[in-house]
């Protein structure tokens, strides 16, 4: 407990030091307000415009969560197909690489053009960017089962369904979570990227990406900082929610989530 308090105190100290340096830069170099607002101005922007900040965050959260959940469902189904045979994997593998390397910034306008701007289109962009890590990691988990375990199931004349549900799928759960952890972070980035292009049906009201664009065009740098802060908090909370579920499902049996011993 005392260890943990010290860790928190250390993190807080670093944060305060950063604020001091930030403020010093403003004073020493006379940076204009629209270039870099003071920490205090950012805090005030958060306070004064909290409702619209919350609305923007909620929109982005909805889009990225939708994209992420869809990528988990589709990704697991795709991984099950990939795990069927080496031949299928060889045939489809180049396309997952493609999925991973295609610059989302470049195809976002295309998708918006095809689907029509809106929450659905942005969620689709978040979905596309999250899909590759889910497929890759889950497939790996499904096919890397120890040969002797497969033999054990064969010895009991296990059916294909038994092999899938009692062996391959449970074995793939830790890898699936590795995929979800990666996807959770980039789904938020995907959604914000999509919003930069999607615009909004209502001037000034939209997700974080839209609001960032709007605030910068209006030179509301203090609010822009508040929005960046909100995006970071959103990404963090996704990450922690995934971590919690990972711990919940795996802590009893899997080595990777064993509670680390205190130094």
């Amino acid at each position: 407990m005392r260890q943990r308090l010290i860790t928190v105190a250390n993190a807080l100290a670093v944060f305060l030091a950063l604020l001091v340096v930030w403020q010093l830069i403003l004073w020493v170099f006379h940076v204009p307000r629209y270039m870099l607002p003071s920490p205090w101005a950012v805090a005030r922007a958060v306070g004064e415009r909290f409702p619209s900040l919350l609305t923007s965050t909620a929109i982005t959260a909805e889009e990225s969560l939708g994209g992420l959940l869809a990528s988990i469902v589709v990704g697991v189904i795709a991984a099950l197909i990939f795990a069927q045979s080496r031949w299928v994997r060889k045939m489809l593998y180049p396309y997952t690489i493609l999925l991973q390397t295609v610059p989302i910034v470049a195809i976002a306008p295309l998708i918006l053009m095809w689907v029509g701007a809106g929450i659905g289109a942005v969620a689709l962009i978040a979905f596309i960017i999250s899909l590759a890590p889910i497929i890759a990691n889950t497939t790996q988990g499904l096919i890397s089962v120890d040969e002797n375990l497969v033999h054990l199931f064969l010895m009991h004349n296990a059916s294909s369904a038994q092999k899938l549900f009692k062996l391959r799928l449970p074995h793939a759960v830790p890898s699936l979570f590795v995929g979800i952890r990666i996807a959770s972070g980039i789904s938020v980035i995907g959604a914000i990227t999509g919003e930069l292009y999607a615009g909004s049906s209502q001037v000034g009201v939209g997700g974080l990406g839209y609001s960032i664009l709007y605030a910068s065009s209006q030179l509301q740098t203090d609010y822009l900082f508040a929005l960046v802060l909100a995006a970071t908090v959103l990404g963090f909370s996704f990450f922690f929610v995934v971590m919690f579920w990972e711990w919940y499902f795996l802590h009893r049996w899997h080595e990777s989530v064993r509670t680390p011993e205190t130094e």
């Binding site: 120890d146 002797n148 375990l149 033999h151 054990l152 199931f153 064969l154 010895m155 009991h156 004349n157 296990a158 038994q162 009692k166 062996l167 449970p170 074995h171 759960v173 009893r252 049996w253 899997h254 080595e255």
Partner: protein, 257 residues
């Protein structure tokens, strides 16, 4: 004491095995194992000991010759056998109880009968206290006990063991050897046991088959005429030591022809 009958449980007739176009792993194996026997396979690495077990289990087909188990093909005889692997191969996401019950579960034995069977087996192998533990919480010896209990749960008539105690320390290995013989006296299964240890092979077996490598073939068969029940004390008696020395001598012929 159990006497081996004259009924063959396993019969190899001119069995050869090669993987792909490569060199033969096993060549022209003739082997008859009778009901109630405990046969150990011993020999240097690459002599195909483990392949013999896989052939009996029908996990891989022979390239030539025929194999009969209980008068059937290996695939058909599978439900009469259990396989114990070199590492315990427990499912890490299942408790000890659920691991031991796996075979019964896959064979659709109703959960009540399964629970009774598993509970009695856990007592038998001394794991009653850790029934709800997960494999990662167990020592190597305890994992292997769970693996043995899982193999025995389906009431096998034939037990195939592939160096099951190789990774354990000597004391644990000796104790598990004694327990294995105690279980055999109660349950009357036939056993085929692969090992690197001559002393272990002699202690457990009614016959020790020495294999030679490149290609794998039967070099010699050493009968072990020590009476059952065998206990820890047997390891100190001169007859046992004589047999181990004799078998080691045969094994050395294989290693340095």
């Amino acid at each position: 004491m159990m006497v081996a009958s004259n009924v063959p449980q396993i019969q190899f007739d001119g069995v050869s095995k090669s993987y792909g176009a490569g060199r033969a792993v096993l060549e022209a194996i003739d082997l008859k194992i009778l009901k109630g026997e405990f046969v150990s396979l011993i020999g240097p690495s690459g002599c195909g000991k483990s392949t013999v077990l896989k052939l009996i289990a029908g996990l891989t087909p022979p390239s030539a010759g025929t194999i009969q188990v209980d008068g059937m093909t290996p695939e058909h005889a599978r439900e009469t056998m259990s396989f114990i692997f070199q590492d315990a191969t427990l499912l890490p996401w299942r408790t000890v109880t659920d691991n031991v019950g796996l075979g019964l579960e896959l064979e659709h034995i109703v959960s009540k009968r399964r629970a009774e069977k598993v509970a009695s087996l856990l007592e038998l192998v001394g794991l009653g206290q850790v029934a709800d533990a997960y494999p990662r919480e167990l020592s190597g010896g305890m994992k292997m006990r769970a693996s043995i209990a899982r193999a025995l749960a389906t009431n096998p008539r034939l037990l195939l063991m592939d160096e099951p105690f190789a990774a354990l320390d000597e004391m644990t290995r000796d104790r598990l050897n004694e327990e294995l013989l105690r279980l055999r006296a109660e349950q009357h299964w036939t056993a085929v046991f692969v090992t690197h240890s001559v002393a272990e092979a002699v202690f457990l077996s009614t016959r020790v088959v020495v294999l030679a490598p490149n290609p794998g073939r039967i070099h010699a068969v050493v009968p072990v005429d020590l009476p059952f029940p065998r206990t820890a004390k047997l390891r100190e008696c001169p007859e046992f030591e004589g047999l181990v020395a004799g078998a080691s001598h045969v094994l050395r012929q294989v290693l340095a022809p």
